[in-house]
Assembly symmetry: C2
Homo-oligomer: 407 residues x 2
DNA sequence: ATACTTTCTTCATCACCCGAACGAAGCCAG
DNA sequence: CTGGCTTCGTTCGGGTGATGAAGAAAGTAT
């Protein structure tokens, strides 16, 4: 059992902790006065001033004018410098690579995308990542010392004790590669790696439907079905890093055989491939080619019967798994991501119906189920957010770029 | 999103934090020298000495002789005073009340038990609790100031924002009672309340199969089927306190109708009632009365076919739910509790087989599934452990009983 | 016996937070 | 627009607690 805090504190540690706390508060509030910080933190005004001055010298916060008076002298508002540093976010998908550059508020400043056979070709994948990231950095002329680090989303579970190694069961070709080490030595900056669904969840928690909350479940609907949890504000990985493997939950004992050995796994029923295949069948003679997911979405929106039917069954099957999830974990909110989720209510309605039939009313009552509104860069943004989260928690992760007071 | 630590630190806070850290280390290690503490915590030897002296004066630790030399002066070992304080643990079961008194190492010093209609009679239940606890305190002549507090296990989900109120859906008769407030004002000591399965999980994590780990799932097999999670060393309650409601997961769509509205819920198949009922049927004309759970366990051990068959089907159905749990949460260990779990391998074998057929090999590989060895007081001990955990994390929760240096 | 280690304490020092006092800046009468 | 009051932010001793060096205590190795 874990008991108590793991870290000791000395005078310097005290300052580090208070400093990080203030940095967080300023980041969260966007603008706040020293006096208000002192009231909320119960730190003395003098301490707050000292720390704020410190943060100001390192370029992380700045004066942004006066606020409204509360009956006396007007407060000077402090704001967070969203542009003080940049963060690199990388998504390794099944068939593509995305690289982005964000500021400290999750805004995407540059964006590069390339098709890539990720599963089978680690060598050229990593090379491609290097290219795209370099393009991003050069496009904005960002000096390396003002980059906080790089977050990487990978389509595989990530074991907590070896975050750079991908699962040999899911992507055997990557057996001899350590993503984290490779990119770290290629760029000379901190690299954090996590599973794509986990980072989608983090993205939603910071910038999407979960803002303000601390517990969230995210389901990524794509070729595979992934699931990520945020628990107490942190990505939850499980003891072996495979938490959230929702794709192989059996929801129909008479369903089709899955490669994993079971029958009626979620992926065999609502993965992108069986979904578009089913749509093709339902459309009958009309088309011999299966539609893309995008076409499916458009069809459903346009009211096409076949597309609607496919989405309905998606909602039905997914609901069985989501009900189990609600009963077990009781998250505050469940967010659906992936391209197909953009149909919105067309999916949510049958899903909610299916869930309501199966979940306890107590766990249902408090849980919101929504679709993501973050778009196709959500995962890459989540990867960058992983770095942001780490830095905001520990101010010392911000490299010192402003030595002295070169205002 | 939560970012960073929530608490500020001043000089006193620094001491409090370091003090708690040392207290934990001494508790965990049972015996350790000042020098060793300094090495592990990276605190200076002088600081360690000062804090240890402080802890010694308050009676929490003491000198327990010399250790073996490492080539120089022999270290003086510091040990934790397990008897410095007592903790009260209370279990409210479906049909009984248990009260215990433990030391700071989870050892049960006194134990009182009484049948009680808990569900329908809150008033006399609370009165009974008061009686039993008072008996415990008097039996050991424990003065109130040396009691850390009281932990209470209740057969209902507990909402994080109102820990004393039970769920009106599960136990409607308790609508107007606040367990926490009632007992707090009755005894004038801190009272912590949690769900029984959650506290079973905590118990296992501290004293049972999960010792040393931080992530664990516990399944309580009784009249109802409950489930508790320990995540990062803490009880996980979910956003509304209903995490772990595994009992109403549907595992057989053609199963019997449940009161919750679904078909084939876990409780309707493997709750104590359907279990013994099934055993009665299988035993045919032999007996008209259904056996008790205890008799079922004894029968299975003795090799009776009917009992074995019932246990087998229990393992089969439970395996379906456990497989889902492994895929979703990937705990390091799953512990089965409740009276029926005492059959051990007779249950574990069919359970593991059932799980293996359904869970991903990755999540299975690292997960141990075991039965509890803590006995029938596990839940009450877990309740006491909740108080112990809180106190070890925050030394200031230990009341000051030794004013001055009355050695 | 002597030299070397390790343990634990003592003491001067230093970093940091605090509280009080103060100047700055605004509100609100009269 | 002037004086009292409030709020904001800073300056400056003072106190608390961790530190590191030095030393005493108590071993081991030769």
């Amino acid at each position: 059992m874990r008991v108590g805090t793991a870290e000791t504190v000395d005078a310097a540690g005290m300052r580090a902790q208070n400093s990080s706390l203030l940095l967080n508060m300023i980041w969260r509030e966007r603008q706040i006065s020293r006096a208000e910080i002192a009231r909320r933190t119960e730190l003395s005004p003098s301490t707050v001033s000292a720390i704020v001055a410190d943060l100001e010298h390192s370029g992380l916060v700045r004066n942004i004018g006066a606020g409204v008076s509360r009956g006396g002298r007007r407060p000077t508002l402090i704001g967070f410098c969203d542009d003080a540093y940049s963060i690199v976010g990388v998504e390794l998908g099944a068939t593509h690579v995305t690289a982005i550059l964000t500021d400290l508020r999750g805004r995407v400043r540059v964006h590069r995308h390339a098709p890539q056979a990720v599963r089978d070709d680690p060598k050229s994948t990593l090379q491609k990542v290097k290219e795209l990231v370099q393009e991003c950095l050069e496009a904005e002329r960002v000096p390396k010392r003002s980059v906080l680090g790089m977050g990487v989303a990978v389509p595989s579970p990530v074991h907590p004790s070896a975050p750079g190694k991908l699962s040999p069961l899911i992507v055997p070709a990557w057996r001899d590669y350590d993503v984290q080490e490779w990119l770290k030595s290629a760029f000379g900056m901190p690299v954090l790696v996590d599973n794509d669904a986990n980072l989608g969840a983090l993205s939603e928690c910071y910038w999407g439907a979960g803002v303000g909350g601390e517990d969230l479940a995210y389901i990524k609907l794509a070729t595979g079905i992934g699931c990520g949890f945020i628990i107490h504000g942190d990505v939850y990985r499980g003891s072996g890093g495979t938490a959230g493997e929702i794709g192989h939950i059996a929801v129909d004992s008479s369903g089709p055989q899955c490669v994993c050995g079971l029958r009626g796994c979620l992926v065999t029923l609502i993965g992108s491939v069986p979904l578009v295949e089913r749509a093709r069948e339902l459309m009958g003679t009309k088309g011999r080619r299966a539609p893309t997911v995008r076409e499916l979405v458009e069809g459903a929106r346009a009211g096409e019967q076949a597309a609607r039917q496919v989405i309905d069954s998606l909602g039905h099957y997914l609901g069985i798994a989501v009900a189990g999830l609600l009963n077990l974990l009781n998250p505050a909110i469940v967010v659906l991501g992936g391209e197909i989720s953009s149909v919105g209510d067309l999916l949510l309605d049958p899903l909610r119906t299916s869930v309501r039939k199966r979940a306890l009313s107590t766990s249902m009552a408090e849980t919101r189920i929504v679709t993501s509104a973050l778009g196709d860069k959500a995962i890459a943004v989540g990867a960058a957010t992983l770095v942001l989260q780490a830095a905001l928690r520990n101010r010392s992760l911000f490299p010192l770029q402003h030595v002295g007071r070169t205002a």
